[in-house]
Symmetry: C2
Subunit: 158 residues, 2 copies
DNA sequence: TTGAAAGTGAAAACCATTTTCAATAACTGC
DNA sequence: GCAGTTATTGAAAATGGTTTTCACTTTCAA
């Protein structure tokens, strides 16, 4: 999984610089990792992978960068109930990361991304967002849909 | 807001005892408070109110009780992104607490319960749950739908 | 009434996240 | 390219919600 872009040439370059943020090794490494496709990583997951390649990128920077990315809407932060936040790239350069929702096992904490039914869900969400936004004068920027239950494995081991 | 039931006579009595749990002052006080209707209270919120009336019920008991209730499905635990969990009674004795979803302001953390569109949402959720349950062999027990954005007040102060 | 087991409070531990602060790196204008 | 400004950084300490520990108390079945 090599770096696909020279320093400062990433697709996010513009967005980042446009908002007054500087491009740093740590930030690029984190965006690169998140672009890699693996979803719902914790800050520590990210730190361990980044730190292996760039030993002078610290956990603090990971948290700070995720915060910035979250604020820019480039990353979504999730809570799956295991006491640590999880992060996912909101949108790849060419829409690589299709919109999906999560199925969370309350026993083993495994998370399944699903895209089934997503069209219906998104369609309903769009309507609901519009209605709620008008009724409560709320500017809706994002949503979360999650299902909780027991995964196949945990059902067996019951 | 007086206790409406004598000790051990609450509607949850059966469910509780049926699962091998003992009825204690603290547990009853907590269930009573949650039945009172105010939604999305934090553990500390609950502790402060309970402790005022029953000074020997500690914060630890609040956490433990909420955990038990959560496990029994009598209480739902939510994360609204402000670093503390929030709890709501899942279902009153006679369905007092109608199913609703949440609108969360990312600026002031205010939470609005809404029931608009809830029928469409629940209908879609039912279908989705069925489909996902079959496809992934998942036993779905609950769901979360939340919208995030800026509330009316925070939009003004912008 | 009584004993076994569940439940408890207080204090300590836990642990993900945030803050502090002095040092460093990235960008700007020259 | 260079220097100055300022954002960014790592390490360590602080924070704060939640959990654990442990000796004591309460519940409840017999």
């Amino acid at each position: 999984m090599p770096m696909r872009n020279c320093r400062g040439q990433g697709w996010w370059h513009g967005k980042f610089r446009g908002c007054g943020y500087r491009l740093t090794v740590g930030r690029e490494a984190i965006l690169d990792l998140l672009s890699g496709g693996k979803g719902h990583l914790s800050a520590e997951d990210i730190y361990l992978k980044i730190h292996a390649r760039y030993p002078n990128v610290g956990l603090t920077t990971v948290y700070r960068t995720l915060d910035v990315l979250s604020g820019l809407g480039m990353v979504h932060k999730f809570d799956f109930g295991d006491g640590r936040a999880r992060y996912e790239l909101a949108q790849g350069p060419k829409g690589e990361h299709p919109h999906h929702h999560h199925l969370v096992c309350t026993s083993c904490n495994r998370v399944i991304d699903y895209t089934d039914f997503i069209d219906d869900e998104v369609e309903l969400l769009r309507r609901t967002e519009k209605g709620l936004g008008e009724k409560y004068n709320f500017k809706i920027t994002s949503h979360v849909i999650q299902f909780y239950g027991l995964c196949a494995k945990c059902r067996e081991n019951k």
